[in-house]
């Protein structure tokens, strides 16, 4: 009788754990990567955020396990039937001071550790003259960064390149070159987010927000608007296509030509009074 009651409670306590494990295994294998950690593998800032997250997650896991285990012990050990007489304890000042201090120390540690990592996440590395960047058209022999303007509007992202070219929905960016983004909006608030290329930055009308990335390899990176911006919010997707610096240079020049030609055609049409 006593024994079975004990088992029942133990089963009750084990249930959440079992549920978690069952859920973890229910997920498809490719989901493992994003299941416990933020996305990484596109740009150093995203990688560094994921590494910082890993450390904090481990600390958090230890704290959660500690509290849950203490709770479980209390529930099993001090059940009515096992412990019919409750001790009349009202507190323990030294113990309370000790755990308040311990909590404070832990928080200070997490804060200090995090702060020490912020520089590398928030600021692109100071670039030496890089041939890749020079090829991509970064001025001053490839020192500094390539600036691309990101403008949000309902429900599309627009990208403006230094030579005056622009594109919608898909940004083309050179691999191995630090790209700095100046993010703004012309209507409501949007949020620029490419999970593999670092954290999101809001596009707020009237303000310019900044972030950066440096693509490690060619490929297409996906993201979408992360701030509710109206009925088409879910459809406001974006892509970053990473190409070689030479290919970027060629693309951006060609894009500029196409835009100029289209503008000239439109101007001619307007002058001759023809509807396009």
């Amino acid at each position: 009788m006593k024994r079975s009651a004990f088992d029942r409670h133990r089963a009750i306590l084990a249930l959440p754990g079992v549920a978690v494990v069952a859920l973890a295994f229910a997920m498809p294998a490719p989901a493992w990567a994003g299941a416990l950690l933020p996305e990484r593998g596109g740009s150093p800032n995203a990688d560094r955020i994921a590494s910082l997250y890993e450390v904090v997650l481990i600390i958090a896991g230890v704290v959660f396990a500690g509290v849950t285990i203490a709770l479980a012990i209390a529930l099993v050990r001090y059940r009515e039937r096992r412990n019919p007489l409750a001790a009349q304890i009202r507190g323990h000042t030294r113990l309370e001071i000790a755990w308040t201090c311990a909590a404070a120390v832990l928080i200070v540690f997490i804060a200090a550790f995090s702060l020490s990592k912020f520089g590398a996440i928030n600021h692109p590395p100071k670039a030496a003259a890089s041939p890749a960047a020079a090829t991509a058209g970064v001025p001053d022999g490839g020192r500094g960064a390539l600036h691309i303007q990101v403008t949000g509007r309902q429900y599309v992202w627009m990208f403006s390149y230094p030579n005056g070219a622009f594109s919608y929905e898909e940004m083309v960016a050179p691999v191995g070159v630090t790209v700095e983004l100046d993010i703004t909006s012309v209507d409501v608030a949007h949020s620029w987010w490419m999970p593999k290329l670092g954290g999101k930055l809001d596009a707020v009308p009237g303000y310019v927000n900044h972030t950066w990335f440096r693509l490690e390899r060619p490929g297409v990176y996906r993201g979408q608007c992360a701030e509710l911006c109206g009925r088409g919010h879910a459809d406001m997707v974006a892509r970053v296509r990473g190409v070689s610096p030479a290919a970027y240079k060629a693309w951006v020049t060609r894009q500029k030509q196409l835009i100029d030609q289209a503008n000239q055609r439109a101007a001619r049409d307007r002058a001759s009074g023809r509807q396009p």
């Binding site: 978690v20 299941a35 933020p38 996305e39 001090y78 009515e80 019919p84 900044h210 509710l228």
Partner: protein, 561 residues
């Protein structure tokens, strides 16, 4: 103090301090009696029934969203309807469920817990309830026209500019005004009642912790609800009277709204969770048969949380253009709030140690609260680190985080409060087997719904999207989450069934079925209109224990004699 502790505990005998048979108007029968009542208990019950009705409505809205997201490219809801349901769900749960449900318990229980005969301002109390009811009607009347669709945060310029047709946002503004005023007057009433109407002997150090948490909540309500009332008034004038507070095209700032809203919005989280802290601090000692561990630390940390809660608002804005020093300040202040919260959790666990724990339904919900709220608190610390927050904010990770705090936190505590106080309110106990089944369904359903949402957020799914493509890889997690939401829904329904059945068929209980600690258990269940025939002198934090001991000693003495 020393003098009172040496005096033997006794029940006041002889002539009661206030005569029972003072002139009482005959009770008005039927619904007129309810509508015109100024009795804190009836107002409390009206608050609670209205809030639970909206819990079901808000729950249906949640299930609509989960159904839409169960599979990729679903077409159950249009984008327009989805945004409306998002807005209705958030606003309903915050302003029409959690805040008023605590107002309901506070109304019913504060006078009883402190040994008072009613609230300080009974008519104002009724007015608070009717303001809340008016807010609810105004808000839900928008369903007949154009429901709001800017989210419960109503970010400008989406809410202020010409981006959403119709007047739904105005209905949203008015629900904030009306329920805000209701909460302000309610908090005023609770504060004055607690400050002035405590039983003889109940110093501040003997005030029940639920009342302490309501005082801390009242401070936050006084300081932040006027700010959001002003903010939505500016929004109203921007929308209709040509002002430019939030419009960047004519000199306003879209960020101003975010600052004003979150200056209210973050303390709002604590406005919803602090009464839960108080409730847990009442329930655990009763079912562990042991005094609360560290009364002073728990009371003080409530006030500490109230203070810190007003210094953390910009952690909702880590992705907006803010200076690094501002980001660092709000990161550190947000982390600091984990210290008083952590202290409370440790005190609660310590309360259970060396106790003699009775496994009743309120304790189940209280323990569920401890496990899940701790997890929600910990993800809160992770989110406070702003570069990490920039990966996670506005994703399903944040959705999971605040549902751990507000559903597993506040709603678990509401359930605990319901099972704990229902016998006092009705004279009948809720069914224990149904209650425990409801707990397990809610607990498991909650975990299934929200654990996987952390993963969804980590793998890039933003919140408030009405659909997602099939190749995103989010399908399985979303389906799991939807199944969990329905399990959770069944769990809540089971409690509703339990209440309806137990109202008529529940086991009849006496004044003190749980062997409670506080004065509400001193009077009959349900209490008479005047609450107490005689108000006992309070000599500790647990006056009912003193009274029970005195009765036992006297009975033994009588037997021996």
């Amino acid at each position: 103090m020393a003098a009172t502790t040496t005096t033997p505990t006794r029940i006041p005998a002889g002539v009661p301090q206030i005569a029972v048979d003072r002139v009482r108007r005959p009770a008005t029968p039927g619904w007129v009696g309810w509508v015109t009542t100024t009795d804190h208990k009836r107002i409390g019950v009206m608050y609670l029934t209205t809030a639970f009705a909206f819990l079901l409505i808000g729950g249906v809205e949640a299930l609509l969203m989960r159904s839409q997201l169960a599979v990729p490219k679903n077409t159950l809801l249009t984008p327009e309807t989805y945004n409306q349901v998002v807005t209705l769900h958030g606003t309903t749960m915050v302003f029409l469920v959690v805040m008023p449900v605590w107002a309901g318990f506070a109304n019913y229980m504060v006078p009883l817990m402190i040994g008072a005969r009613d609230m300080a301002f009974p008519k104002l109390n009724a007015f608070s309830y009717w303001l809340y009811a008016a807010g609810a009607i105004v808000f839900y009347a928008s369903l007949l026209f154009t429901p709001p669709e800017a989210g419960w945060t109503a970010y400008t310029p989406l809410s202020s500019g010409p981006y959403i047709p119709g007047n739904g946002t105005d209905a949203w503004i008015f629900v904030i005004h009306l329920t805000g005023l209701s909460s302000l007057l309610g908090a005023l009433n609770v504060t004055v009642t607690i400050a002035n109407m405590r039983a003889p002997g109940m110093g501040w150090g003997r005030l029940p912790l639920f009342c302490w948490s309501l005082l801390a909540q009242a401070i936050m309500i006084f300081l932040t609800l006027p700010v959001v009332a002003a903010a939505v008034t500016l929004l109203l004038t921007d929308r209709h009277f040509g002002t430019c507070f939030y419009d960047p095209t004519c000199g306003g700032s879209a960020m101003l709204w975010q600052h004003l809203f979150w200056f209210f919005g973050h303390p709002e989280v604590y406005i919803m969770i602090l009464p839960a802290f108080g409730l847990i601090s009442e329930v655990l000692p009763v079912f562990a048969r042991k005094p609360i561990f560290g009364y002073k630390a728990i009371a003080a940390s409530s006030i500490g949380i109230a203070f810190l809660s007003m210094l953390v608002w910009a952690h909702h804005m880590f992705a907006t253009p803010l200076a690094s020093v501002v980001l660092a300040f709000f990161m550190l202040s947000s982390m600091a709030i984990a210290i008083p919260t952590g202290v409370k959790i440790l005190n609660w666990v310590a309360t259970l140690f060396h106790g003699s724990i009775a496994f009743r339904t309120p304790l189940y919900f209280a323990v569920g609260f401890l496990v899940l709220f701790t997890l929600g608190g910990i993800t809160g610390v992770i989110l406070a680190i702003y570069p990490i927050d920039r990966q996670l904010t506005d994703t399903y990770f944040v959705v999971a985080h605040f549902h751990f705090v507000l559903v597993a936190g506040s709603v678990s505590a509401v359930m605990a409060a319901l099972y704990y106080w229902f016998p006092k309110m009705t004279g009948r106990a809720l069914s224990e087997p149904l209650g425990k089944a409801s707990f397990w369904l809610q607990f498991v359903g909650f975990l299934v719904t929200f654990l996987v949402q952390h993963s969804l957020g980590l793998s890039g799914m933003p919140r408030r999207v009405y659909t997602y493509p099939a190749d995103s890889g989010w399908g399985t997690d979303n389906l799991v989450s939807t199944i969990g939401a329905f399990i959770l829904g069944v769990g809540v329904l089971l409690t509703v069934v339990n209440v309806l059945v137990s109202l008529r068929r529940g086991r009849r209980v006496g004044p003190d079925p749980w062997k409670g600690n506080t004065l509400e258990w001193f009077t009959t269940s349900p209490p008479p209109p005047h609450n107490f025939d005689a108000i006992p002198r309070v000599r500790s934090v647990e006056p009912m224990r003193d009274i029970r001991r005195a009765v036992r000693e006297r009975t033994e003495a009588a037997r021996a004699g």
